[in-house]
C-alpha cells in the first residue's frame, strides 16, 4: 500500500513538473488556433492526455510533444463539430476570460498565407508563432526533422513568392505598404 502511494505520488510530482513547463505555452498555442470559448476545454483535454500518457512524454522534447497532443485535440474538436466535454467543474467555477489580441494580419501577409496549403501554413505558424526549430516541429507533427526542414524551406519560399505577388497586386490597386515598398527596391 505504501508502495502504491509512493508510486502515485512520484507520478503526480512528475505531472506537476511537466505541467509547470507546458500549461502556459499550451494556452497560447491553442488560443492561436481556435475560438477563445474553446480554449479551456482543449487545454484541459490536452493536460488529461499528458497525465494518461506521462510515460510516453520524451524528456528532451516535452513542450513540442505537448503541442502535438494539443494539435490532435484541436483537430478532434473541429472534426466533431462539436459535442464536447467540459472536464472540470471546479475550473468552470472560477471563470477567466482569455485576452484576445487585436493584432491584425496585415493584408499582404494574409493574402500570401491564404494562398498556401494548410500544412504549409501550420509549419510556418509553428516556426514563427511557437518559435520552434525544425527538430521540434518534427515532434509536433510526427515527421522526421529532415522532412520538416525540406517542407519548411519550401513553405518559406512559397510564402515569399506569394508576398511578392500580393505586393504587386496591392501596388496595382493603388495601395502601397511603406516597408514593402522599401524592400522592393533592389
Amino acid at each position: 500500500m505504501h508502495g502504491d502511494r509512493s508510486v502515485a505520488g512520484a507520478r503526480s510530482h512528475r505531472f506537476e513538473n511537466l505541467a509547470s513547463e507546458v500549461y502556459e505555452p499550451l494556452q497560447r498555442y491553442v488560443s492561436r488556433r481556435v475560438n477563445p470559448d474553446d480554449v479551456d476545454d482543449i487545454v484541459s483535454e490536452t493536460m488529461l492526455t499528458l497525465w494518461r500518457r506521462l510515460d510516453d512524454v520524451p524528456p528532451n522534447a516535452r513542450l513540442p510533444w505537448a503541442y502535438g497532443v494539443a494539435r490532435r485535440h484541436v483537430a478532434n474538436h473541429r472534426r466533431f463539430g462539436l459535442r464536447h466535454l467540459r472536464l472540470l467543474r471546479r475550473a468552470q467555477a472560477e471563470p477567466r476570460s482569455l485576452p484576445v489580441s487585436d493584432n491584425p494580419l496585415d493584408a499582404e501577409l494574409h493574402t500570401a498565407l491564404a494562398a498556401l496549403d494548410e500544412p504549409d501554413r501550420e509549419l510556418l505558424r509553428l516556426w514563427a508563432w511557437e518559435q520552434l526549430h525544425p527538430a521540434e516541429i518534427a515532434v509536433v507533427l510526427g515527421l522526421t526533422p529532415n522532412a520538416v526542414s525540406i517542407r519548411l524551406h519550401r513553405a518559406k519560399r512559397k510564402l515569399g513568392e506569394n508576398l511578392q505577388v500580393a505586393r504587386k497586386n496591392e501596388m496595382l490597386s493603388g495601395h502601397s505598404h511603406p516597408e514593402s515598398s522599401k524592400e522592393e527596391r533592389p
Partner: protein, 193 residues
C-alpha cells in the same frame, strides 16, 4: 526578404503573442485543474463505467460549436489521427441493453484494425467509417480493464474491431468490440450502410 525578416513579420501577426498573459500555473484555477485531472484518472474505472453513453458526474456536458475557428486558419484534419479515450471497469456494471437503435445514435462509429499497441495506446487503421469521422488512423488511449469493457480478453495487433464513442469516450457494453460478421451486420443495420 530573408528568413529573419520573414519570421519577424509572421511573428508580428501572431494573434496570441508571448507577451499576452495567460492563466498562470500557480493560479487556483490551474491548481484545481491539475487536482481534478489526477483524481479523474485514479478514479477512472468507476467514473468511466458510470458515464457510459452519458456525461460523467465529473464531466458536465457542453455543446460547443467551433464556427469561428477559420478566423485564424483551419488546421487540416484529414491526416490527423482521431483520439478517443478508452474507459475501463466492470463490463457488467451499469450497462444499457444492446439494441441497434441506440447503436445508431452513437457517433463516431468505425471499423478498424489494430496496427500498434502500447501499454496505453491502441492505434487502429480505419477501413470503414459508419459515421462521425474521416480519419485514417484512430488512437485509443486506454487503461487496464479496457479489454473487458469491449468484451475481449486482450487487444491484439492485427485484430479488427468495431468501435463507437460518445463525446470522445469509447462505448463498451456491446457497443464496441471485436468485428464479427454478426456484429458488423448490427452496425450495417444501425447506420443504414
Amino acid at each position: 526578404m530573408n528568413d529573419h525578416d520573414l519570421r519577424n513579420r509572421l511573428a508580428a501577426s501572431n494573434p496570441m503573442p508571448p507577451s499576452e498573459p495567460v492563466d498562470p500555473i500557480t493560479s487556483n484555477r490551474a491548481r484545481a485543474l491539475m487536482e481534478d485531472i489526477m483524481a479523474i484518472a485514479t478514479k477512472e474505472p468507476r467514473v468511466k463505467q458510470r458515464r457510459f453513453g452519458r456525461l460523467s458526474a465529473v464531466a458536465a456536458a457542453l455543446v460547443v460549436v467551433v464556427g469561428g475557428a477559420a478566423l485564424v486558419g483551419s488546421l487540416g484534419t484529414s491526416g490527423d489521427p482521431l483520439v478517443l479515450t478508452g474507459g475501463a471497469g466492470d463490463p457488467m456494471a451499469s450497462c444499457l441493453v444492446f439494441d441497434v437503435e441506440t447503436l445508431g445514435d452513437m457517433s463516431p462509429a468505425l471499423g478498424g484494425t489494430v496496427v500498434e499497441l502500447t501499454d496505453s495506446v491502441a492505434t487502429l487503421e480505419v477501413d470503414r467509417w459508419y459515421t462521425g469521422g474521416d480519419a485514417e488512423i484512430v488512437e485509443i488511449e486506454y487503461t487496464p480493464g479496457f479489454e473487458a469493457l469491449i468484451g475481449t480478453p486482450t487487444l491484439e495487433v492485427g485484430q479488427r474491431y468495431l468501435v463507437t464513442a460518445t463525446d470522445g469516450v469509447v462505448n463498451g457494453c456491446g457497443y464496441s468490440g471485436v468485428a464479427t460478421a454478426e456484429y458488423e451486420a448490427s452496425f450495417e443495420a444501425a447506420f443504414g450502410a
